[in-house]
Each structure stands twice: as structure tokens, then as C-alpha cells.
């Protein structure tokens, strides 16, 4: 049972890979941590991915053990489906008001047996996880590997037929739940609020989301994931196996017209990775990547790129000006081929994937009074030497809250923020942090 007042050393905001890793590193140092996540499960964006570069490990194999370790750690309290409402500074650090949103399922009693899902008569499109390509019940466990494995009810869609109440062996359905307020007293706060992708319908030249066979890379991740909607790569309009797939790089980054002048760092590598996975899943398919610069800068990344070229993935330096479709809804990419006398070509593909970029997931200014830079991510005044220190004393930031970065870099900055927060607490108490959970 969550008590309504929690004393911890550190409140970590955001249960994606950076937040989990920061929590684990602090907890393993003996600090008490509360981890707030606004979704019903931790895991963040990473848990939705298929396989990850540069090792091509199955993403779940990296994420789910960290989720389990976070959930089972004796020094970590998970506050899922919760949102921070307000933060006030006091002598010991911060007093934080957190709202626990109602699941309409008694969290402590639910065993995740999913009996309720079997009897619930209504299906809803799974928008959160699958872009509406599959369905879940009105009462549902968010996804197979969710942590915690607890059901939740989409109360707006519920018809209150009561079937789940009868089916639930743990007697934990409660339609009367209301938002609860928790108070967390913490000495430090770590913002691991993550990113969202640039909207794939933002660019009217690329069809503004109206072309059915133009999707974004997150949707492709799901198509490639073993837990994905179809278990294979099919194109949306007619369920056909695509023979020709194109990636449009920088479709949301390095583009002043979208207000995203910066590089999103991950798109080159994920496009190459997806291209490799597609080549494995659809050996006959041609994959073309239209790019401006290939930025495979990380450890082992350049070698990954060279492997992709050797596998036959085609890299074409060119600026995609426009995407239209023919009468069969095949996307036609109009591209200026920089390597070929700047000739303008119109190439027909079965499926086009927009390599969308990263935007800040959350504005830290209103609640935390933590300044953001002109790119909208958390401002880091001394970014070279103190890469996790924000403009507010005692509040630190990590992962993609501080700018686009890949999983490897997020995990490393999470280790760094743990060191920074630990050092801060040590300096401000003179002794190792005392365990202080109520």
C-alpha cells in the first residue's frame, strides 16, 4: 500500500530507460528513491522498440530486466500512473505533490491474471502502444511485459456491464476510485522526462499524414517488433508485403520550417537498423535510404553502417522534396539526387518511412521552474563539465530530457546523474544519506 506521505532521498520523474537506470544506480548506492511515471507501466519509449543498435539485441531483452530490477529493488518505490502537480522547496529539499490517477482497479490486489480481459465485451483501438493497429479491451493490462502487471480501465469507454467484477478472482475492480494526492518529500529531484517524436503529419510536402503508406519510424518499430500488431511487416493500405521500402531521413530534424533546426542523433542509426531488420524479414525487398549526411558516430556505429551497405541497402544522398501517391496508393518520392548531377527523380515505393526526430517530452519550466533552452530541452548551463546539472539547485536532468540521444547515451547520462545527485546529497548532509522511507 502506498502511504500518502513518502520520504525519499531522490524523486526520479519518468520511468523510461534513463529514469530506471538513474533509480537503479542511486538505489544500489543505498539511496531511497521514488520513481514517478505518468503511464500505467514503466519502460518508456524503449519498451516499444523492436531490436536495438548496434548489437541488434532484442529490445525487450535489455529493457524488461531493468524494469523488473527497478520494480523489485528494495530501495525503489514505483509510483506508476502518477503525475507531479507541484513542487515547493523546503529546508531539506523539496515537497512534491503527486496525483495518483485512478486505474479503477485496486493496484495492490490485482495479480495481472487478465481474467477481466477475457470477459470484457468491448474492444478499443490500442492507440498508446500500437498506433491503433490492434485493439485492447476496455479493462486491460497495458502490454504483455508491462511493469507493474496491473489492469486499468478506460473509464470513458466502459459500459459498466460488471462482467469484470464477476470475473476478477482478487475482487479488485473499483469504479468509484478518484484521483488521490500523495506527498513526496525528497532531497533531490531527477528529471528523466524523455522525448516525443516530431509529428509525422507536420510536413505537408510529405503528405501531412494523409498518405496511407507513409508511416513514421516508431510505427515501423512496432511492425518489426515480435510483439507487434501483425507479427510481420505489412503496409497499411492493403496489407501487402512491401517489396520496396524507402526511408526519408531528417523528416523532422535539421528542418527550420518545422522549428527543429537540430540533429536528432538517433535517426540515421535507427533507419539503418530497421533497414537491416527488414532485409532479414523480407529478403526480397529493396530498401533505400534517402539522406543528407549519415551520422553514425557512436561506438561501433560506423561499422554497422558499412555492414548495412554490404548487405545491399541502398544509400542515396538526396533531398526529398515531396511525396505523393499513385492510384494504388503507392508513395512516389520526388528527390533531388545530389550524387547524380542533382537530377530530380520520381521513385515509386510500396512503403515510405519518415525518419522522424525528437522533441522534448515535457516542459519542465512551469512545475519545476527549471529553465529550458531554445530547443525546448532542459537547459544545462555547464554542459561540458556538469552535463546533468540544471538551473535549479538540487534538481538534475538526464536522458533525452536534456536533448536528443540514443539508448546507450541515455544509460550513461543516467549513471552520471546518479553520481551528481549522490555527491550533492553527500555534500549537503555530511554523511551518507539515511534510509528514510516511511
Amino acid at each position: 500500500m502506498k502511504s500518502d506521505k513518502i520520504h525519499v532521498d531522490t524523486l526520479v520523474v519518468g520511468g523510461g530507460i534513463a529514469g530506471m537506470q538513474a533509480s537503479l544506480d542511486l538505489a544500489n548506492q543505498g539511496h531511497q528513491v521514488a520513481l514517478v511515471e505518468h503511464s500505467p507501466s514503466i519502460g518508456g519509449m524503449m519498451i516499444g522498440l523492436s531490436k536495438v543498435f548496434p548489437t541488434l539485441d532484442c529490445c525487450s531483452c535489455i529493457t524488461t530486466p531493468k524494469m523488473a530490477a527497478t520494480a523489485h529493488h528494495e530501495n525503489i518505490q514505483l509510483l506508476t500512473y502518477c503525475e507531479v502537480q507541484s513542487v515547493t522547496r523546503n529546508d531539506d529539499g523539496f515537497s512534491v505533490q503527486v496525483i495518483q490517477k485512478p486505474r479503477y482497479v485496486i493496484e495492490d490486489n490485482c495479480t495481472g491474471c487478465r481474467s477481466c480481459e477475457l470477459v470484457c465485451p468491448l474492444d478499443l483501438p490500442d492507440v498508446e502502444n500500437e498506433f491503433g493497429r490492434t485493439a485492447h479491451r476496455v479493462i486491460y493490462v497495458p502490454f504483455t511485459t508491462a511493469v507493474p502487471q496491473k489492469a486499468i480501465i478506460d473509464i470513458d469507454s466502459c459500459i459498466f456491464c460488471g462482467k469484470c467484477i464477476k470475473a476478477c478472482p482478487a475482487d479488485c475492480i473499483d469504479f468509484t476510485q478518484t484521483p488521490q494526492t500523495l506527498r513526496v518529500e525528497a532531497r533531490t529531484i531527477i528529471l528523466a522526462t524523455g522525448f516525443k517524436v516530431t509529428p509525422y503529419d507536420a510536413k505537408k510536402e510529405y503528405g501531412a499524414g494523409n498518405l496511407r503508406n507513409v508511416i513514421d519510424a516508431m510505427m515501423m518499430e512496432r511492425l518489426l517488433a515480435p510483439t507487434g500488431p501483425y507479427g510481420r511487416v505489412l503496409r497499411p493500405s492493403d496489407g501487402k508485403l512491401p517489396d520496396s521500402i524507402a526511408y526519408v531521413q531528417c523528416a523532422g530534424s535539421r528542418d527550420e520550417t518545422l522549428g527543429v533546426p537540430y540533429c536528432s542523433r538517433v535517426c540515421c542509426m535507427y533507419a539503418i537498423k530497421q533497414a537491416m531488420l527488414i532485409s532479414g524479414a523480407l529478403p526480397m525487398a529493396d530498401v533505400t535510404i534517402y539522406y543528407m549526411d549519415i551520422r553514425t558516430f557512436g561506438k561501433g556505429y560506423e561499422q554497422f553502417y558499412q555492414n548495412a551497405k554490404a548487405m545491399g541497402i541502398e544509400f542515396v544522398k538526396g533531398k526529398v522534396g515531396r511525396i505523393v501517391e499513385d492510384e494504388d496508393q503507392n508513395p512516389i518520392v520526388r528527390v533531388e539526387l545530389i550524387d547524380d548531377n542533382s537530377r530530380v527523380a520520381e521513385n515509386k515505393h510500396d512503403l515510405v518511412v519518415l525518419s522522424v526526430g525528437m522533441l522534448p517530452g515535457y516542459d519542465t519550466q512551469p512545475i519545476y521552474d527549471v529553465a529550458t533552452a531554445k530547443d525546448g530541452f532542459v537547459q544545462i548551463p555547464d554542459s561540458n563539465v556538469a552535463p546533468t546539472v540544471t538551473t535549479q539547485e538540487g534538481i538534475f536532468a538526464t536522458g533525452t530530457a536534456t536533448g536528443p540521444m540514443d539508448i546507450v547515451d541515455s544509460i550513461i547520462t543516467a549513471g552520471a546523474v546518479a553520481a551528481e545527485a549522490s555527491a550533492y546529497m553527500h555534500l549537503h548532509s555530511g554523511s551518507p544519506a539515511a534510509p528514510a522511507a516511511d
Binding site: 539485441d57 525487450s60 517488433a225 558516430f297 550524387d339 561540458n384 552520471a416
Partner: protein, 698 residues
Amino acid sequence: MPEQSDKSNPPEKELGLAPDPSPEEEPRIGVYVCNCGGNIGDVVNCKQVAEALRNIPNVVTSHSNMFMCSDPGQKLITDDIKEKGINRVVIGACSIFLHEQTFRQAVERAGLNPYLYYHVGLREQDSWVHYNHPEDATEKAIRLMLAGVAKARKMEPLEPVRLQAEKHALVIGGGVAGLRTALDIARSGLKVTLVEKSHFLGGRVAQWERVFPTGETARTLLQRLLEQVQAEPDITIHTGAKVVKTKGYVGNFQIHIRQQPRGIKADFDAVDQAIAACPVEIPDEFNYGLKTRKAIYQPYSGCYPAGPVVDWEHCTHCEKCLEFSHNHDINLDDTPIEFDINVGAVAVATGFRPYEPFPGEMGYGKFPEVITLPQLERLLAADGPTGGKLEWNGRSVRSLAMIHCVGSRQVDDVHQPQPDGQVNNYCSRVCCTATLNAANIIHERLPETRIYDVYTDIRTYGRGHEDYYTLASKNGVTFLRYFVEDIPEVYPAEKGSYYSMLVKVKDQLTWGEEIELPVDLVVLAVGMMPNPVDDLIGLFNITPGNDRFLLEVHPKLSPVETSVVGIVLAGTAQGPMNIQESCTAAAAAASKVVVLLGRGQVEMEPYVAQIDIERCQGNGDCVRVCPQEDAIKLETFSKNGTSFQRAVVTPANCNGCGVCVSTCSHRAIDVLGWRLDDYEAMVDAITAEIPVLEGVPA
């Protein structure tokens, strides 16, 4: 091996009857086959494997599952332990190096001894290498799992060896990464000793002019960090010092350090005269050979620790400097000192060196007009050889070409390999933004100077880096793009030409046209290579990757840890990084050290030799062959009035090398967890006939 002498024999011990072997618990084995999200299941028929294992003796339950490592997957195991009384667990999944610990913890949570778990690698060693032979891969999986079950029948509960850990860490390297690591470890309450092989701290950053993305000078940044380090009482710094010998393991490394003397007292007041008097002149490495220095030198004024040192390698002992020495301020007979420290963990922050182009590579070493980017940084620095003026032959540089990817992203058969036969096929990550940063600084100082940027891909990936690219374009930098198959050529212009050098580029931005760029100066944006650390690799048993940088265990699961527990990596010893990335990695490394040592105790695997005292005949073969010190010895026991000798193991000193096991003719020794009997049972399981498999649901 020291001979056993009589006087070292311990007093006789009474040998009681060996305790009855505890009534053996009947093994109840749970078998789980992970699909690994298709990584295994796309090749190996996991259901069939699970089915094949179901009906063999001692197997109580056998499943396949999409993700065994997920929470629901782990719950499957813990539920079976609690509900079905499973007391041995065998999982076929990814590599043991990834998730063995995960599953051990799960098993432990359910109340089982974590060593009653056996992990079979079905991904890296089966599905990922036999994807064209799914049937054979499935058969292999079945046989390996059968071997796992055979082992599981014999597994016994084990307890980790618990050792006191020094709350003290060693940081090797005094560049930004080492300083940052030391600071973060110390600020979390542990002691730190930092050793730096040169006589000064600051590493490569001290040689830089102005850094991205903050725009401050490298010196300001370094100063800030150094002040914090100096203010930290728990950090001890040894410069001119090297690790020369190591012993021990996590929690208790004994480190032997040799420190070169400085030869000159810190308060020596006639520095300039002594330097002037020194007749030795050698290339100044701090300025990348752009000027010379003496055998008494300090790299730059304001360096830390302050004051000059004697370069022992080049000093000729002419004693001319001694003229200015009072009170033995200069001591040319100073000798190195050696001392030991005990630490619990080690952070390797040994940094990088810039790629050194081969003689003649793009004209380097052949024409003085061809320099590297680090050399350019020295020319731009206020305390550099030209006082910050970018001049060539007495006048400001009017035109220069900067060529990217020199020593990075190299390709076999195009580039000359390093002595190990490998080319640098990696991206060095920092050169693109560093080059554009330098271009912008040059434009600021010399707006009329023409700058050509010759690249393959511009990789301004980091936060704020793209702004440098945009600004360079605005500043009128001309970009040309080359392909690796058409490396730009650098050669001198005809005598009397306005510009002395020409760079020929097959420019892909202008349809592959060959363009000759007339320039005063050519700057090669050289990549990074790790500082050579073969000595440390040998001393600590850590591993470099194919790119020669030190290797982490896994980029996501253990991104700064080496395969040796207690040894972590900080900064560019691990791979190319910029300052921000080095400091981040360094802080992450510090975090891991604090996790390891913060509690003052570390746990080690219980894989040490164990004597079966009933079988031991006390002939001492094991004692003679044991390569460790004090790991195994003969002790005298007595029983019923007769005394005899038996071997005894000191677990903390045994590393489980197993040399004694194969030596014992009575099979009285085993390494716990890795018994010979286990292997024989596994061999039998793999070679056994498998009943023909039928009726497995598709």
C-alpha cells in the same frame, strides 16, 4: 611455490567424522526456453525444445516463452518454484553474460539458492549462427538443454565469498575524464588516488583553444575542474606516476606505483634562467612539435601542479642548470620512488592520442603547410607558438583547406593499416564539430580568409553542434564532399604561385567535378586513437576491442564496466568522445565504483577449489602445482591418535583456476560450481540418443 616447512605447519587439528552428506533433496527441475522476441524463436522451434525436455527424469515442468527475462517471464519461474516445488532451474536464452544474473536474482527472490540455476546460451551460440539450418539448430538446442538438465541434477547451493572492500578507488589518468571520475567518487564519500603518467594534469583538453558547445576556452573549463579537485580532501594525486604491478581482485587490489621525481622543487625561483641555460632542444609534445622545448620544462604557464620538471629521458646531466640552483632546488640525481596502495576498484581514464598521419599521407610530414587539427588548435591558442596568430611564412593565412576523416572511417585496401594490420574503421565523433568550431574561430579573427571544408558526411550530431555547421555556412565556408574511393590529393603548387599548396578534390556536391583548391595551409582533421595501454591491459586482464579502444561488457547493460569486476572505464580510453561525453561517462563510471565499494564489502563468486577430505590422500600434488600464493596447503590432522596430512583451501586466495583439479589422481578436488562430474554428465547428455520426437503441437 614456497615449500612447506615444518615450522610453518599449523597445530594439528582433530578430524571429526565427515558430516553425513545431507539427505539429498530430489531434484525437481524447471526448464524454460526463451523465444527472445524472435531472436531465438525465428530459428529454433522453442515449443519443440520445451516439449522434448518435458518427459525426462527430474524435469517437473518445461515451457517456452516469448521473453523469459521480462517480469511476467520471471514470474513464471518464481511461481513454479513456489507452487510446483521446483528446486533447480534451467533456462535456454541469450548469452550467459547478459542475463545469468537477472535469472539468478529471480530464482533467489523465490527463495531458492541462486546457484541452483543454469543458463544455456541458445541465441549467440545457436539461433544466431545456424539460421540457415533451423532443424539442426533445434536439435542442438535440445541437446544443450539436456546437458543443462544433467548439470542441474548435480547442482548444489553455494554461498558467495564475502570480502571486506577498501573504500578507496584508483583513477588512472589525469585528463578531464580522470578528474571528473575522481571528483565524483570522492564527493560520494570514498577515498581516491589519482595517478597521471605525465607530470601535469589536464590531459588533451589543456592543449585545446576554445571548446564547443559552450564557447569557453578549454583552460577556463579545466581550471574550474582542477579547483574542485584540489578542494577535495579525499583525493590524493600522484603525477609522473605509473601503475607497475597489481595483485588482487575487486575490493582488494594491491597496486604498486612508480613515481618519477620532478627534479626541481616547487618553490624554485630561477625557472627562466635554468630553462635558458639548458642546452637540450627537443620537439615540444604539448605544442604537437610546432616548437621545441628544453629538458627542463613546463607545458604552459598556469599548469598544475605548477613549476617545471626535469625531462629525465632527454636530460644529459650537463648540470648547466645547477648554476641557478640554491639549496639543492634542482636535484639531477633524484630517483623514482615506489609505493603500494590498496584500493577496492580502478577507473581507467587513460584517454586518447590524435591519429598520427603516415609520412606523406595527404602531404603530412612532407610539406610544412600540412598540419593536423590539434596543431591548428595550438596555433590558435594565445599561449601557442605563434601567440594565437594564424600565420604562414610571415603573413596571415589567406586560404586554407580542412579535410575531414583523416584516420577515421578508414577502409581496407584504401588506407594504410596500423601496425596491427587494422585500419581505423570507426568514426571519431568529435572532429566534425571541432573542425567547424575552428573554422568559425578563424573566420572571426581573419574574416577575409577563405576556408574550404572537405568532408564525407558532416556529423554535427550533438546538442548545439548543428549551430556550428549553420554558422560556418553563413560565414562563407565552402563545403566540398569527397567519397572514400577518391581521397583528396595534396601537393605543392608551381613555384611562384600565389598560394603554395593545392588540394585536389573530386567534389560530389558539384557532380563529381575535380576541383583544385589553392591554399596556404592544409588542416587534417585527424581522428582519435586510444593511448597505448598494453601494460595496463596485461596488468588488469582487461580487453581491447577490434578498434583497440578498451571494451565494455555491453553497451547498454554494462556500458562502462569491463569484464573484470571492479575495473571501470572513463572517457576516451573506451572510444572517441568529446569533453561533455567524457565527463558524462566519467561520472557514470564513478557511480559504478560507489555502488561497488560504498558498503565496504564485496561479494565474489563462490567458484573456488574444494577438497573432498574423504578422498584426499595428502600427497600434496595440488600444493605443488597451485600457481597462487597461499591458496592451498597441507595441514596436519589427527584421527584416532594417528596424524596425517590433508589439503586445505583458503577461499579468498583461490581464483578457481582448476590446475589442482586435473592434478589430483584421487579426484579429491573440484572447483565449486564447475565439478568434473558435471561435465561428464553433460557430455553423456549431449551424446545420448534422443527419442524421436512426435506430436509436438505446431
